[in-house]
Symmetry: C2
């Protein structure tokens, strides 16, 4: 469940896009909105701020909030770009959003941000409400390792000639889609090679099962083992889903990680984690079970984020390329809007060695 202000913003956004305020362009007052939604005015103000940041409305001191008129251009569908992401609160998201938004702004496009929480039900709702009110979409695929039930809506966008660029992951059923992601296969390969060079031969892994990044990182990891002539550690791979991630990270339910340490980890001397977020929780579980990092078990990971620095043992992690996925994806979308042909791209990682390995 998202915060109340996000819900209110989301409702207003969809009303605006459906043309509910197209005559007067004037939104209800803060007090009216507060009464309608049973919240205080601070919450309403936060919702309106979000829509202002998205360039969807403008607020005039004293006279209220107004739907912004789209600048008239040659674009058949206006100049609004929708960014559909999985987690607004995700630790690597702000940088990506900032990058993308600045590219769009430089090119005269305004942006609206939507968030699926990695739920296909919300992805469907967002795509249905967008209708044809946007000229292009930047989409972080939702549950990209599973069959996607919203392809009909992506096909409709295609028929309406509204370009879509995916970032981080796209769907197997859309093999021609343009996608800009990190080079996850080679990232997994790099981390495994790093551990092999350090003398580890029994390496376990923790990966996300419903996002394609998890599959690609796992695949690179296995390829490195195979190329080194080592067996695959079937029983020492932990897979977790979006819903299990939520339980681990927000509800503090660490049973999954604890069971893995107790029943599957013994014998392994190193673990490759899907990202710093899960590595952070995992290292805490190891500590609580008196297993030392890196003396007993080395831990390496992806993203080189604040989690890597904040962890009791700073995490050896792959860092993103100097030119971020968000910027490249946004540039690709602008190119497509200008009629150019673009191609999918995988951005290489760089290893940053710290204390956990």
């Amino acid at each position: 469940m998202s915060s109340k202000y996000v819900q209110i913003a989301s409702l207003l956004r969809s009303q605006i896009l459906k043309g509910a305020y197209q005559n007067t362009r004037m939104l209800p007052t803060e007090m009216e909105l507060a009464q309608t939604h049973h919240v205080n005015r601070a919450t309403v103000r936060r919702a309106l701020s979000l829509l202002t940041e998205e360039g969807l409305i403008e607020r005039h001191q004293g006279s209220g909030s107004f739907v912004k008129e789209s600048p008239r251009t040659s674009q058949p569908h206006g100049t609004n770009i929708a960014i559909v992401t999985t987690y607004i609160n995700d630790y690597i998201f702000p940088a990506i959003l900032q990058d993308a938004q600045s590219v769009f702004a430089e090119n005269g496009y305004s942006t609206m941000v939507f968030c699926t929480h990695n739920q296909i039900s919300m992805e469907r709702q967002i795509l249905q409400n967008l209708d044809r009110s946007v000229c292009g979409l930047l989409v972080e695929g939702t549950k990209t390792a599973l069959p996607n039930p919203n392809l009909d809506l992506y096909h409709k966008l295609g028929e309406a000639h509204i370009p879509v660029v995916f970032f981080h992951g796209s769907y197997a059923e859309l093999p021609d889609a343009v996608c800009v992601s990190d080079d996850n296969f080679n990232g997994g390969y790099q981390l495994a090679q790093f551990l092999l060079r350090k003398g580890h031969t029994r390496i376990a892994g923790i990966f996300k099962s419903d996002d394609i990044q998890g599959h690609d990182r796992y695949s690179g990891f296995l390829s490195a083992l195979r190329d080194a002539g080592l067996p695959f550690p079937d029983a020492q791979i932990l897979w977790y889903t979006t819903e299990e991630k939520k339980q681990i990270l927000t509800q503090g339910n660490r049973d999954l990680l604890q069971d893995f340490v107790k029943y599957n980890l013994p014998g392994a001397t190193a673990v490759i984690c899907y990202n710093d977020e899960i590595a952070f929780s995992f290292i805490n579980v190891l500590r609580s079970l008196k297993i030392r990092v890196p003396e007993d078990v080395a831990v390496v990971s992806f993203d080189n984020s604040s989690f890597s620095e904040l962890c009791s043992v700073k995490i050896t992690s792959l860092t993103h390329g100097s030119k971020h996925v968000g910027r490249i994806a946004a540039e690709h979308l602008v190119d497509m809007l200008h009629g150019k042909t673009v191609r999918s791209e995988a951005v290489p990682w760089t290893l940053v060695e710290k204390e956990s390995s």
Copy 2:
């Protein structure tokens, strides 16, 4: 870990295939084998029986065991076919094996059976040991919903012109592979439609995450919901892996199912299960939590196996087509060996309504 006799059979099999006994064709005596492997003679006899059934050796009363001479034919790689399956003990496997073996026998081929336990490490070992000692393979893909690290070995088989037919599932990375499976997408669709017609609108699901059958059944289920205009139940889908299945079924660890019932199921009035095996365990968990089937929650499933009959509430389940996957897959492989072109096939399911819905 497989039983001792399976291990001994596996070792002897690979020695035989490597030509270790090609001069005398005579295997060590039962007593010698018992001493070498530190087991009793009954275990050795069981291993030898397995190899006899596979047509790899013959036992002569009083004089010992001999490697069978392959009948000379025009086949460049002999007449041995390898059947590589995931679980020999799987409840639907005996029928498939019987079907396939009788097709091969009718056509003059002998068969050897290997078992990966759905582990890519064992799949690799089996394919490496096979070398070129077989003329064709019938393969039940291992962890088909994940990237496969053994493609190099499948490519080698292709280069040696040794045909492979997959059954139940093949790999996304081998899009041209011939595969005979049940029509899992339509099976999921059928089950959901059946529940919708009964008035259920909030349907949960339990699916296997690392086999493609799980993805296809999930995909059909979601499509039925979408076509009925219903939202997707992101939080009410439980995914389990091969390793978690083992914990649930053989170690009796039902935490995963119990947590699902407690935290995710509330609100749903029906559940589609991946197969009868998991449905059986799930219904037991529901009973232990005093939730009635079908009064409180309806349960439907795939396979219509003995589990469906043995369950305290007989399970409404999809039954396999009259012509089984094993038979069709074997016929396809024989056709390929005879130089014919064959195509992938999906065999339709039929619903058998019982007590659980």
